[in-house]
Symmetry: C2
Subunit: 659 residues, 2 copies
């Protein structure tokens, strides 16, 4: 059952695909809503789940989260906003269980037992919003109802479930070819190589640097012949440069965001000065989305949309403010500590400043709207722009598309990665925990930068991260320029690393089939134990995940461990992998077990009475036999297997066979 | 057995108190030392312990650590230098076990299986150093030998084991009185209130702001009548101000560090422009140390030495560099991203810059030495200055003294706190892990800022942090100005919080006695399980600690948990505390156990056949009966009880009775 409360005249987000009549008189709404505030009582038996890829644990209690897409790469525990803004959550306590979706692009703050340990306070900045109240018997039922409300999740081609190698720092064709060759020589599975910003001519979207990539089309073709795809980045900002067609057209057609005077808004990002396409304007969306054709025509089959919070490094306003702050102190004797900090702050505030966002305007169906009020819709609509037009360009075949910023609704057009993380052990766990909230909000094709984007990744960290990422739909090794090279062949024990990738490919029929069923049926691919088991131990476990209906994973995410404690909520069959193969299998009783796993070993736990497909060793999705394979798990079990051609856009029960 | 290798002519650190003849021909040294590098092979069965309060886990394998005292408050996993520089470690592998102490004040980098997973590389910047190789049967024996080499650890008065409340932001006498009153009214135990920088007149050491503290002596006396001590901060930098006696004397006597022209070196810290006392100069040390008498004469009985890495916020050099960098861009059109970052970097490099440290000079026994080469000795010698002179001022009675920066040798003069941490759950665990390396290096009176210095501390985080800190010798709640107030009375469930403090006082006879025995016998107060048990599980456990010989703790350090898995390496008796009392006791078998502990519950595990003293409920150290108490643990056990008057400087076996 879904009930809706409408306050004022909310901005249309297109998050939902079903119409629900509002029912403002409902007792429930009157109890919890006080103007722009929503209040719930909580206690030590309350659990709050959801809020997409927000910070901290699976259970959101104990901190504050602000929905405000933020380009902040340092995801320490104290950060309240990461890249996404996803306003759906479920509250479960002893008496009750229900879901809430706040459909509003405005800044929303969730104080979940932080300021007051027994209160969950929500504050919506806007006067206008829709709130959906979703009532059902279980968390999974509530999620399913919610997912129906917001529409079917995006599906990438099957090859996008292969392993991808990325790095900001591949400068030219030779770099790309070397990455391919090194994977090939070292027998490391590979399906995708990603192009970060350096493939472009001066960071201009839909251009190619001809010196570095003299014949991209040929490079794409050559790699495609080896079944490896090149996946370029597209940034939100369009470089201001006379003669550059995207810029010229955008200006002419009025498709860029405006400033308060009605001129095209100017910010600085990688290309230098840019305008920002007005993705809230349907015409601009169609126009920009069709630009992807330029690269699709060169054989490109996938994209990642970046910098679309949108990130703004600085504007003239910020620069002027900085110079004027600093001017005061020029030549001054005895500059004080607080003087210096004032100067420093003038630098710090420039980056992604609300003062700039508040000077930027959109044209939404003819209405001029301040960007600050719809900030959370920007990345969503960039990816919608691409998704809608790519479907027009390629109506039969799926293409790969994922985004950094996101908002509920965007899940229909693309996946996401969790943005710039660090080579921290704690970020393995964080990304595990993020997967749950993201799935609840409809984001299914998801993953984190394996090994960490910033910082230097050691071999053991890479190994453990890969072992978890074996189960994320998006499995991409990505890192920043200036950090230690972290392609798998950079380490000492390449065989050990590549053998983890081998397991990924052996499990690909299972991973893909599970993913497809979850999308088709609005189910969750990643679930915490708490969503299926209600014993006292299961409900608190935040470092194990159920994958589909058949397996549980319990990755090692701490340094210098050769095993970990795993809790089995029921009997399961442990299958341990090593050297591209099953090392051992054992049926384990319900309860806690210390599972020994050396660095290059990892486990799945197959649920009682279940089995899963287990394919041949392959180094590429094309080499995986999706029709003939063995099984892991319990004898006499059956498995519902989803098997299409891996590319068809249709999603249907007809592709499912019980085997 | 201790062997010494000497290279060149090392700077005298006074880290050691025993003379060891050097034996450069020893095969061991020739195998591992290559000029300024030391190399060990490691494998998956190697463990490296020690390096004081350095970052990351108890086992140091998997990362890089640089000994270089750094005022960096953001202790994320990627930081290589924290506040301390402590160059003792133990390597244990299948074949061998030994300790290494590098006695050199220079920057030293330890790459422990990070760059190459099978190599432990050490690089010493200086050409001159002593290396001690310590061979014995067990880790604990090696630690004991090392501790004999470097001398007996500092001991504070017994009241310093009570609970302390601190905050940067107590501005005046009224604030202090309110803190006392609120603790009293709410029945929260208290022994110390700390004064951060605002008690001083313009941040000048050994001055009092008369407007804010019109009669400090009286305040001290009034609080002392209630058995609460006021503990002021002392910073390293001395404000440049005409007429200020410390400044005037220091200049006149030539006791400040010099610049390259021989003028007194100038840096900016809290007071504005300062000189830095040359703590490497014995005369300057005596002079500065005697200044503490000014406050001791007002009844003060303890101090914390801060900013003694030394922190330098900026110098004229940095400011000039910044202005010149920025000047280039003034009025420039189209400032690029990298232009802006160059400007920003010119701000960032100002703080604690090596460029400044390299312009600062010491007078060590008549030799002029560049600060950069002896940087790690600075905080050590500040605290040595205070410790040596306070002992002269008060030869009979111990005083409280601890420091932020440290180096081995300093452990004889004071304790340390782990510096500016964050209100992060992960920092409970980090501080647990730091305790081990610190104890190995001789630092015994230690603790971390409870609740976190930076960031906002929620009630549940405070509760769990207190539960761990119940066992740290230094138990201080400290936080930064601008953060959420985190005195215990600021939260909803004050009783639950204060009942944890009650347990601290009930365990005070045990904590103090254990501490004293460990100092007397060069033993460790905090030990990982690996130091006493060699089973496969114990050696990997990094989140449980043994305290003395009698108990094990396994704190809950994760949010939203009402229990955790605890591993018992042998049978133990669990004692669970709640509401200031024992809630239950149970003998548990060897193995893993899920121990349920609600937010306000916590456990100790008493080792088989042991018992510990358990005193009356008290709200202050003076109320604890150290002569008459009950016991927790196994019947028929005995306990070696150290019981002196809590203040006498003598340490002796004579104070130990078996009871």
């Amino acid at each position: 059952m879904i009930f809706k409360y409408r306050r004022g005249n909310p901005i249309k987000t297109d998050s939902t695909v079903m119409y629900i009549e509002s029912n403002n008189e409902l007792d429930f709404f009157n109890k919890i809503i006080k103007d722009k505030k929503i209040l719930f009582d909580i206690d030590e038996n309350t659990f709050v789940y959801g809020l997409g890829g927000s910070n901290r644990g699976i259970n959101k209690i104990g901190y504050t989260y602000t929905s405000y897409c933020s380009d902040d790469p340092v995801h320490t525990e104290d950060k309240t906003s990461l890249y996404a803004a996803q306003n759906f959550f479920v509250i479960k306590n002893k008496k009750d269980i229900f879901g809430i979706f706040i459909d509003s692009p405005s800044k929303i703050t969730y104080d979940v037992g932080f300021t007051e340990i027994d209160k969950f306070n929500i504050e919506i900045e806007s006067e206008d919003y829709d709130i959906y109240y979703i009532k059902s018997k279980t968390i999974l039922d509530i999620v399913k109802e919610f997912r129906k409300l917001v529409g079917r999740s995006y599906i990438p081609p099957r090859w996008a479930f292969g392993y991808g190698q990325s790095r900001w720092g591949y400068m030219n064709e030779e770099d790309i070819i070397r990455v391919y060759d090194k994977h090939y020589e070292n027998n490391i599975g590979l399906d995708m190589i990603y192009l970060d910003i350096d493939y472009m001519d001066n960071f201009k979207d839909f251009t190619i640097n001809k010196e570095r990539f003299p014949d991209l089309e040929k490079l794409v073709k050559n790699l495609k012949n080896k079944n490896v795809r090149l996946i370029p980045i597209i940034d939100a900002g369009v470089k201001i440069e006379k003669g550059y067609d995207v810029y010229e057209e955008g200006v002419k057609k009025g498709y860029f965001c405006k400033d308060e005077k009605g001129n095209d808004f100017v910010g600085s990002v990688w290309p230098g000065l840019v305008h920002f396409p007005d993705f809230l304007n349907k015409d601009a969306r169609e126009w920009f989305g069709m630009k992807y054709k330029y690269l699709i025509d060169k054989g490109i089959e996938g994209f990642w949309n970046d910098m679309n919070e949108p990130a703004i490094f600085f504007t003239d306003r910020g620069i002027e403010n900085m110079f004027s702050k600093i001017e005061k102190y020029r030549g001054k004797k005895d500059i004080g500590v607080f003087d210096l900090w004032e100067m420093k702050d003038s630098f710090m505030e420039m980056n992604n400043s609300d003062l700039d966002y508040k000077k930027m305007y959109h044209n939404l169906d003819g209405n001029i709207i301040n960007h600050y009020n719809v900030h959370n819709l920007y990345g969503y609509n960039m990816t919608r722009s691409a998704g809608e037009m790519i479907e027009k360009i390629s109506p039969e075949e799926r293409k790969l598309l994922f985004s950094r910023a996101s908002f509920i609704g965007m899940h229909r057009y693309g996946g996401i990665w969790t943005g710039d993380n660090f080579s921290w052990w704690s970020h393995i766990l964080l990304s595990m925990q993020q997967m749950v909230g993201l799935n609840m909000c409809g984001f299914m094709y998801i993953g984190s930068d394996i090994g960490g984007f910033s910082g230097n990744c050691s071999e053991d960290l890479m190994m453990r991260w890969l072992e978890f990422a074996t189960f994320t739909p998006l499995m991409r090794n990505h890192s920043a320029i200036g950090t230690r090279n972290q392609e798998l062949y950079q380490y000492k024990n390449i065989n050990k690393l590549s053998s983890i990738i081998d397991i990924r490919y052996r499990l690909l029929p299972y991973i893909y089939s599970t993913f497809m069923k979850c999308v088709l049926r609005d189910e969750m691919y990643f679930k915490p134990l708490a969503f299926e088991f209600d014993d006292e131990i299961s409900i608190r476990i935040d470092d194990q995940l159920l994958i589909g209906d058949e397996i549980m994973i319990a990755p090692v995410y701490k340094a210098n461990q050769n095993g970990r404690i795993v809790y089995l909520p029921e009997e399961m069959k442990m299958v341990k992998f090593k050297e591209s193969n099953v090392l051992c299998e054992e049926i384990l009783e319900k309860g806690h077990h210390y599972i020994k796993t050396e660095l290059d070993e990892f486990c799945i736990f197959i649920r009682k009475g279940k089995k899963i497909p287990y394919a041949n060793i392959a180094k590429n999705e094309s080499e995986v036999n999706f029709d003939v394979f063995n099984f892991l798990g319990y004898d006499n079990a059956t498995y519902e297997y989803y098997n299409d051609n891996g590319i068809v856009r249709e999603v249907s029960e007809k592709y499912i066979k019980t085997i």
